[in-house]
Symmetry: C2
Subunit: 350 residues, 2 copies
Amino acid sequence: MTGSVPNAPRIPTVRDVAALAGVSPMTVSRTMSGGQNVSAEVRTRVHAAADQLGYRPNQNARNTRLRQPTGLIGVAVTNLGNPYYGQFALGIEDEAARHNRHILIGNSREDPLREAELLDGFTGRQVEGLIVVPAGNGLGFADRLGSLPRVPLVLATRSIEGLEKDTVLVDDVGGAHAGTASLIGEGHRRIAFLGDVDGIPTARRRFQGFTEALAAAGIPFDRALLAPVRDTAAASVAVQQLLGQPDPPTAFFSVNNRTTVGALRALSGHRSTTGGRASALASFDDVELADLLGIPLTVMSHDPRALGAQAASLLFDRLAEDRLPEHGPARPRLVQMPVTVRRYPSPPKG
Amino acid sequence: MTGSVPNAPRIPTVRDVAALAGVSPMTVSRTMSGGQNVSAEVRTRVHAAADQLGYRPNQNARNTRLRQPTGLIGVAVTNLGNPYYGQFALGIEDEAARHNRHILIGNSREDPLREAELLDGFTGRQVEGLIVVPAGNGLGFADRLGSLPRVPLVLATRSIEGLEKDTVLVDDVGGAHAGTASLIGEGHRRIAFLGDVDGIPTARRRFQGFTEALAAAGIPFDRALLAPVRDTAAASVAVQQLLGQPDPPTAFFSVNNRTTVGALRALSGHRSTTGGRASALASFDDVELADLLGIPLTVMSHDPRALGAQAASLLFDRLAEDRLPEHGPARPRLVQMPVTVRRYPSPPKG
DNA sequence: AACAGCAATGGTAACGTTATCAGCCAGAGT
DNA sequence: ACTCTGGCTGATAACGTTACCATTGCTGTT
C-alpha cells in the first residue's frame, strides 16, 4: 500500500503545461480558472498546450491549497443490490448534481465494522458531509461516531436512539397502522406478521404500527403468528408453515419488499395447489408486478427516491448553514416521509 | 464556488496534534502510519492527542505528497434507478472493497453532456480508473474521450464502435438467438419485437440475435411486428395494439426488463378480458415475480452483479499491469457474460 | 577508550496548486 | 516630459502531508 508507483506514466501538471506554452505556472493556473487578466494570445497558447498534454487540474491539490471543501458527499447504504436503495441513491445523486457535488458510495452489507471502515475512508477523503443508513440495529453507532469528524451527518431510513442528528424516516408506524387497519376493515382477524422485529429498528417501528392497529380494533395478537424472517426465502417458508397450521391466518403483513416477494411466491403456490380462497397480503414497500398476481394485496407505498432527495436536501441545508452560522447551529431535524395505502384489486367504488 | 469558507470550524492537522502532544509533526506522521521507530511513550501521547482533537489524516494531501494513487474509482451508469444497475454497482463495489478502493458513482441519465461532466469531475478528482456505461448510442464518445486523461477505462454493457478499450458485454446476440430459437421450438412463427432498435447499441445487438434465429428457421420477419419502444408504458401500449391487429403475433420478444414489465401488464390484462390462449413472452433480463403470472415465459437471464464484478476485475488487472509494464500494455480485452435461457412453466422432462 | 550500529526524533523540502504581492509596460492625463 | 492608472505576468510562499537526511544518545564490540 505504501510506496509510489514505479512505472506509471506521469500525469501532466501546471508546470508541464507552462513549459510547453512558454509561460509561468501561475499564468496557466489563471487561464484554467477563468482567464481573468490573461491576454487572448497567451490564453489560446495555454489552452493548446493543455489539450495537447491532456492536462486536468488536480482537484485534490487545488482543494488543499484553497482550504476549500472537496465537493464530495459520502453515502453508506446497507444493501446496494436492493432496488430500494438504488432509487434512494438516485434521489441523492439528483440533488447532489444540482449542488454540484459528487457522491462516494459504499455498501455496508449490514455490517457495522464495514460501515465504520467506510465512514473512516470517506472522512479521510475529506467529504463535506455524510448520508448514512445505519447498519444493523445501530447499536454502538454513536460510539463509533464519537471518533468521526465534525462534518454534517444525515441518517436515513433508520434512526439511532439517543443520537441527535438530522434524520429522514418513513412514516413506518403510521403507514403500518393504516395498512393493518385496511386489512381489519376487510374483515381479517388473524393476521400474521412477517419480519424480524428484533433486528433493524425499521421493522420494530412497523411492528409497532401493526400492533397499535390491532389493539385499536380490540384484536389480541397471537404471538404464534409472528415470523422473524429477514429475507425472501425465509419469508416464503414461513408463509407455507403458517398456512399449514390448524388455525391459519387469513392475512399476512409483510415488513418490506424482500419478505413480500417471498410471501407472494408462497401464496401463489398455495392458491394453485389448494384452490381455496386466497389469503390477503399487506406489503410495506411497493413490489413491481405484485398487483397482477390475483392475490388480494394492500400496499403501503412510499418513495425511496424522494427519501434520498430529502436526505440530501437536509445535508445541503446544513452545509449552507455552517457557512453562515448567524444564529448558531439549528436543532436536528426529523422528517417523516408519507406512506400511501393502496388496494389491489381496487375496492369497488361507492 | 471560489473563495474559502469563512466560519467553518478548522479541521485539525498534524501540526495541531504535534503541538498538543509536544512533538514534531514528523513524529505524528510516523505514529499515524504504523508507528515504526516511535517510542511507546510518545506513541500513546500522540494517539491521545489525535483522539482528543478528532484528527484524521488528510488523504488528499497524503496522496499529493506521496504521488500515490487516490484509491478512487469512477463509475458512470445511465440509470441508477434501474435495479439492473443497482446490482451492477454492487458487483463493482464488492470488487473495489476487496482491492481497498472506494467508488465515486454518477448517473448520466443517458445524457452525453452529463456523462462528459461526470467523467471530467472524476478525473479531476484523480480517480485511478473509470468504469462507464456509455450514454445513449455512444456517438461522439470517442471524441470526448480524446480529452480524457490516461487512466484505465472499462466499458460495460455497451461497446463503442472504433474504440479499443477493455469492455464487458452481455452475450446479447447469442442470448437473443437462443431465446428466440426457444420460442420457435414451441411452434411460434409470428413473433413481435419490443425494443428501440435505433437507440442504444444493446438493443441492436439483441435484435440481431433475434433476426438471426428467425432466419435460421427460415421465417421471414414482418416489419409490422417491430415496436420501437423504450419504456414500460410504451411497451404496454404496443402489445395491446399488436394484439388488436387482424393477424396478431403469438409471441413477443422483449428487449429488456423495462419493456418486459410493460408487456406483462398488457398480456395479463388481455388474458383476463379475452380468456383466450395466452401469448408467449421471451424476456431479455430477469424480472422478479414474472414467473408467477401464468404467462408462458422464456427468460434470457444474466447476472448484472457478475458483470459489474467482471468490469472491476478488468480494471484492477489493468491497474496492476500499469504498475509492472514488463511486456508493454496488453491488448484491450473483450469479455462476454453468458446468458442462460429458462422456461416458465418448466417444460416437461424427457 | 574509541567507535560502529541503531533507535528515536526533528529539520527541510517537495507533491500540485493558487493567493498575494511586486514588477513591467502601454497609454492616458497633466 | 512627468506621473498615474490598469492590464498582464511572474516569484514566492503556503495548504497538509511525508521522504530524506541529519542529529542525538545509547548499546555493544574491540
